[in-house]
């Protein structure tokens, strides 16, 4: 596609429920990143995928968070047993490959998650 597509754009869920957030990167982009943006905070790195390599999960805040990327394209971020502190905007970004980050990532518009 022309840009990075994320869905849903907004999600309201009850505390304790599981949620799935989807990211469809730009076609041909092998690097995919997930970030979390909380009010008044900088973007927080969560996880990184590069081609068929094992993902860098070093930013995931707890074992309730997981992500997968199928076929080197679409990625799903799953949050289990959601807590109120999980409320944030979840941003996905892609780039041609890790070496191209110096040209900047392309970000999606994000999913705003609200846990009530």
């Amino acid at each position: 596609g022309a840009g990075v597509s994320q869905s849903p754009s907004n999600k309201v869920t009850e505390k304790g429920k599981d949620v799935e957030l989807r990211c469809d990167p730009i076609s041909g982009h092998t690097a995919l990143y997930w970030y979390r943006q909380s009010l008044g905070q900088g973007l927080e790195f969560l996880i990184y995928f590069q081609g068929n390599s094992a993902p860098d999960k070093s930013g995931l805040p707890s074992d309730r968070f997981s992500a997968e990327r199928t076929g080197g394209s679409v990625s799903t971020l799953t949050i289990q047993r959601t807590q109120q502190e999980d409320s944030a905007v979840y941003l996905c970004a892609s780039s041609l490959d890790r070496g191209r980050i110096y040209y900047g990532y392309t970000f999606g518009s994000g999913t705003r998650l609200t846990v009530v």
Partner: protein
């Protein structure tokens, strides 16, 4: 630990009133310093990459500069459409991922 801070948190300017935004960074072996613009409800949009102290980049009314400890985003004669949150991010020599600052929320009044 790599860290990026930005000031001010928010800035209100009159149209045409030039100013600068500050980004201070503490990273091990800076590989790149990035500026992004973020509009409400949108993802960040890439503006510039700076690699070494003394480097400058320009785009329309924006000019980014870099020293060994800071980067500045200078806005010359801003227009209301320049209103946005400006994010600064750094990549260190040992890390592979961006460390973002909290951003400066710029409002340009007509």
């Amino acid at each position: 630990e790599d860290q990026v801070t930005q000031s001010p948190e928010a800035l209100r300017l009159q149209e045409g009133e030039s100013s600068s935004l500050n980004c201070s960074y503490t990273v091990s072996g800076l590989r790149g310093l990035f500026w992004y613009r973020q509009d409400p409800g949108k993802g960040p949009e890439f503006l510039f990459t700076l690699y070494s102290a003394g480097e400058e980049k320009e785009k329309e009314r924006l000019k980014a500069t870099l020293t060994k400890k800071e980067s500045f985003l200078h806005i010359t004669a801003p227009k209301p459409e320049d209103s946005a949150t400006y994010l600064c991010a750094a990549v260190s020599g040992y890390g592979q991922n961006f460390v973002f600052g909290p951003g400066t929320r710029l409002s340009v009044l007509p």
